[in-house]
Amino acid sequence: MVCDVVAAAALLLAAAHLFDRPAGPASRKRDAPWLSPQQLSLLYLLQPFAVLACVAGSSTSAENMGVLLAVAGGVTRNAPMAAAGVAVGAYMGLHPVLLVVPLLLLMWRGPEDVLQHVPGPVPPVVMPIVLAVPVAIRFSSRPLFAVWVQLFISCMFKPYASVGDMVPWLALLPLLQQQLQCVKAGLFFVNSFVLLLVLGPAMWHQWINVDAANSNFFYSITLLLGVWYTVFLTHLVRLTAQLDRRLAGKQLELSVDDLDDDEDTAAAADGAAVAAAGKHKNA
């Protein structure tokens, strides 16, 4: 509980700092932030996964606090705070430990002067480490996105996964406003995610508690979730790359005009998550 509150405060700090910045060169009305920092941190607190992890007494929330503290420290260029966050996270779990090595590789880089620490790599290790470097290099100008990608990947590859692992990247998702505006198949992503989140616990229940299904049922859902992660991540990375191009003023055949449902997508993402949690509890 305390951890969650601290984490939300860190998020608030980071978001406030981010939103304080002068708007980007291609500033439009569309780029205005969807959510105020206060709303963002409140959303973090009310996020169903965070609530679940907190109720379950999982140590994941403490780990998340460490991660978000580190992010906030990075955003505010507060090195001790970032280091402390990393330390807390490292105390709680293995995966922020490995984050130190990215830290060494990618110290303080980028025009925005935001910490490029890349939390990430975990035992199925090679993949996150392999991805951390190119992502950090490619998106050196977008450290926030790099951090988000690493959080996302570490959630994917975390052993002994819990719902709490999803909290950091979901919390930071609204900050990726620019990318989300360009997502076309938003409805598909949201719906499939919700479906998987419902089916996962259901299959688990069938396998472990009722003994009516075997492990393959649960495995199929986790596999599909992995596929969903893959598609979503690829999509966002691709969008970001294109966005960079466009912002750099280069020629780009990207039609960004038909983004009517941006607001709906973001709202749907949060609403759907709430709904998923409700079903989760029912299950």
């Binding site: 392999v130 991805l131 009722v210 003994d211 075997n214 992995g226 990375v237 191009r245």
Partner: protein, 815 residues
């Protein structure tokens, strides 16, 4: 061991003693071998047969009868004691390591010992050497007198916690009289390991028999010749235990190898009362009936000749003892109808006291035996023959050849032989309605001997013996002379129930035998593959509890629980709950000793070792805890994963503080713990006119010693199987493939997206048409080349494809 069949845990104990209390003096320089067997009818119609073969040898370069492999093991590793038992497919072994061994090298010694034993007995004991299978037993029950001795031995390992006061919260003086058992820190380092799912089979019995001098060719070992009976028994427990005495330099002085085999057999239908049904469930509910026993028919084999290498070869029949009133009633009846049927019976010498320590030479005994009268086949009961003179002369002749050192022993033996043991001819004081044919050579009763010798005789006339056994000596001349193999061993028949009183008494006997004072049950609570609960219950028989309540002196009984839980089952210790007679009690309030080693994944099991001060009048003690089940990797599951994981049996040791258990000792070895060290066997012999004589045996045979040994009650719980969530074992390859595919796609897609240069693609797409045409041509050439290369490769590798192509070409008329 009695009517209940439990699966004993597989335990390996290793004692790192803190003091070697063995007196190095008076170590016999000779090897000895004795074999014994106990037959006991059980209340539910089954028959318990327990064999024990004991060999003793000093450290020698060459042995006459002692197995050399074992002798080498003794000199190779520094253990004090080990026990290895295979019970219903499980092994148990307990080993004590010698004191001065540094703890660091213990693991190595442990591995050496278990590997050596594994190769010796063809069992997978190498798995026992793994640390996750090994637990340390830190608390042991010891009597107060022992604790006093420990104090005098003043070794470094004795901790300050070995005080008697800790055992009872009521503050009663439990230490008085030396007759109580209190938990204390173990003096020696005991390691316990279990190996579940180890199949017991002929390949284990064969090396076991190979250690016997006569194997299964002669002597009592011949009774094990029918393997179908041995392995088809309801309960089957094979044990090897070894005790090594060492001097201060850890050199072995003398080693004693004890092999025992316990069988609970179901009599064949013909020899059996009709009340016994074959179904186990029905058996439990049937009126308890004791079965008639024909030992040869029961075991399917017989003893053709005694083992000539054995100094002692005896069969005991252990019969229940009636309570006093019943006994008197029985005695009245016995005057009328229940008499010993004694067809052939002589007064003869029973070498009663040759303890294995003394190691009387086999030759001497043989000489005595063959010198004995050979007239035993005559069934004339009046033909009494005093063979003691013959024995004396035989021994006299031997004596001249014996060394000076042996003479003393021989004399001692002769002295004891002169105290002839004779069987009471008429119904004896303890003879229930039973017929034994041929008549036993002697009767032995375990009674409490009082120091006052003058009072002794009077007392024993009235005193209730704790155990009664009838002794057959296979080495005695009578048995040598009996040619008929079937007659060599006895036949036990319960008197046919003519009178109602008789059947009543039989039932009383059976009921009395059935009750064992303490029982332990254990079961799993909860459902699902994630969480569960484990409940251990210790029950005390109602009568005993009532008696304790009546005697209410506020005394507590120490109950020690030793439980090893494998790490796969994660017990939450904060959920440990104690309730007594259904009421929640505070565990901390009753806890006297506690030693808990928490589990560590893949490294070591959880070891719960705690002692409670239980009110003596309590009927049920319930200890429960919740646990979670671990998820394992595919490779960590045993071959039959759906069976679940075995939790070794809990060992409950009850330190009784009085003589209470003596009455209910039937069948349960542990219950023989009648708490005072002054129990002794008395051998009764008698011929018609003579009032039967009583001899207190100075030194009994090993099995008799074991039966009379004073020790705390030890009860084992049934073993438990906990199912874990299992993966689909047909799927690992598929899982690897699918997951790897997803990972590969992820990596490829993300890296591809990172490397994406939309601008370059655009420029390429909008390049001049000529360049694009050239590019298209190049692409086509590439495709054709690729097809040609692979087609040619296929044609080159596959003759059938060549033929097919050839046919096609000819059909088209091209070739």
């Amino acid at each position: 061991m009695c009517s209940r069949i439990w699966a004993v845990l597989v335990a390996v104990c290793l004692l790192l003693g803190s003091s070697s209390c063995h007196s190095a003096a008076a170590v016999a320089q000779q090897e000895s071998y004795s074999e014994e067997a106990v037959v006991q009818p059980l209340a539910n119609g089954l028959v318990l047969v327990h064999f024990q073969f004991t060999q003793t040898a000093p450290l020698l370069r060459h042995y006459t009868i002692f197995p050399k492999a074992v002798g080498q093991l003794v000199s190779a590793s520094l253990f004090d004691e080990f026990q290895l038992s295979l019970t219903q497919g499980r092994w148990e072994f307990v080993a004590k390591f010698s004191p001065l061994l540094p703890a660091a090298s213990l693991a190595g010694q442990w591995g050496t010992l278990s590997h050596a034993l594994g190769s010796l007995f063809c069992a997978s004991l190498n798995f026992v050497a793994r640390p996750e299978a090994t637990a340390t037993q830190a608390i042991a029950m010891s009597s107060c007198s022992e604790i006093g001795q420990q104090a005098c031995s003043s070794s470094a390992g004795v901790s300050a916690s070995q005080t008697c006061s800790g055992s009872s919260s009521s503050g009663s003086s439990v230490c008085t009289g030396g007759s109580s058992w209190v938990p204390a820190a173990a003096r020696q380092h005991v390691l316990v390991a279990s190996l579940p799912q180890e199949a017991s089979c002929t390949e284990n019995l064969t090396p076991w028999l190979k250690l016997l001098p006569c194997r299964d060719a002669a002597g009592l070992g011949a009774l094990l010749a029918d393997r179908r009976v041995v392995f088809g028994a309801d309960h089957h427990s094979m044990q090897v235990s070894m005790i090594v005495e060492r001097n201060a330099d850890l050199q072995p002085l003398r080693s004693t190898l004890t092999q025992s085999l316990t069988l609970v057999l179901r009599p064949p239908p013909g020899t059996h009362p009709a009340t016994i049904s074959s179904s186990g469930a029905a058996r439990q509910q049937l009126p308890a009936v004791l079965a008639d026993v024909n030992l040869s028919a029961l075991l399917g084999s017989e003893v053709k000749q005694a083992c000539p290498l054995a100094q002692q070869s005896r069969v005991y029949v252990r019969l229940p003892v009636l309570d006093k009133p019943q006994q008197q009633q029985q005695q009245q009846q016995s005057n009328v109808q229940l008499q010993w049927r004694i067809p052939a019976y002589k007064k003869r010498n029973v070498p009663d006291s040759s303890n294995s320590l003394e190691a009387a030479s086999a030759d001497a005994d043989e000489g005595a035996s063959s010198g004995g009268s050979s007239d035993g086949s005559s069934s004339d009961s009046s033909a009494e023959q005093d063979s003691s003179d013959v024995a004396d002369t035989a021994a006299e002749a031997e004596r001249t050849e014996l060394s000076q050192q042996q003479q003393q022993q021989q004399q001692q033996q002769q002295r004891s032989r002169r105290r002839l043991c004779r069987v009471a001819r008429a119904a004896s004081w303890s003879g229930p309605g039973v017929e034994l044919s041929p008549a036993p050579d002697a009767a032995a009763a375990l009674t409490h001997s009082t120091p006052n010798a003058s009072e002794k005789r009077r007392q024993q006339g009235q005193q209730q013996p704790a155990q009664v056994m009838y002794v057959y000596d296979l080495l005695s001349p009578a048995h040598d002379a009996v040619a008929a193999g079937a007659q060599r061993l006895f036949q036990l028949q319960w008197a046919a129930g003519g009178s109602p009183g008789d059947s009543h008494s039989k039932q009383l006997l059976a009921e009395q035998q059935q009750q064992s004072r303490y029982t332990v049950t254990r079961y799993i609570a909860g459902s699902g593959n994630l969480h569960g609960g484990m409940v251990l219950e210790v029950h005390q028989a109602q009568q005993a509890a009532a008696a304790a309540a009546a005697a209410d002196d506020g005394r507590n009984v120490s109950v020690c629980i030793f439980q090893v839980v494998p790490w796969q089952i994660r017990v939450w210790l904060h959920t440990l709950q104690l309730s007594i007679d259904g009421q929640r009690r505070s565990l901390d309030a009753l806890l006297t000793h506690r030693h808990i080693t928490p589990a560590r994944d893949r490294t070591r099991p959880l070891v719960l070792n705690m002692c409670l001060a239980l009110p003596a009048a309590a009927t049920t003690l319930t200890l429960s805890a919740q646990f979670s089940k671990a998820f394992l990797t595919v490779a960590e599951y045993p071959p039959d994963a759906h069976r679940g994981f075995d939790v070794p049996a809990a060992q409950v040791t009850i330190g009784l503080t009085s003589l209470q258990t003596s009455g209910s000792s039937a069948g349960q070895q542990g219950d023989a713990s009648s708490s005072s060290s002054s129990w002794a066997w008395h051998v009764h012999t008698g011929d018609g006119a003579e009032a039967w004589q009583q001899q207190q045996l100075q030194q009994e045979l090993p099995l008799m010693q074991a039966l009379a040994a004073v020790r705390p009650v030890q009860v084992y719980s049934p073993s438990l199987v906990v199912p874990l969530a299992v993966p689909d074992f047909s799927m690992p390859y598929n899982v690897i493939c699918l997951t790897s595919t997803v990972l590969a796609v992820l990596l490829g897609a993300v890296v591809g997206a990172l490397l994406l240069r939309p601008a370059e693609a655009e420029t390429q797409a909008h390049a001049s048409s000529a360049a694009s045409a050239a590019q298209k041509r190049r692409k086509r050439v590439k495709v054709v080349l690729l097809l040609a290369v692979f087609g040619g490769l296929g044609l080159y590798l596959d003759p059938s494809l060549q033929e097919a192509l050839w046919e096609q070409l000819t059909a088209l008329g091209l070739a």
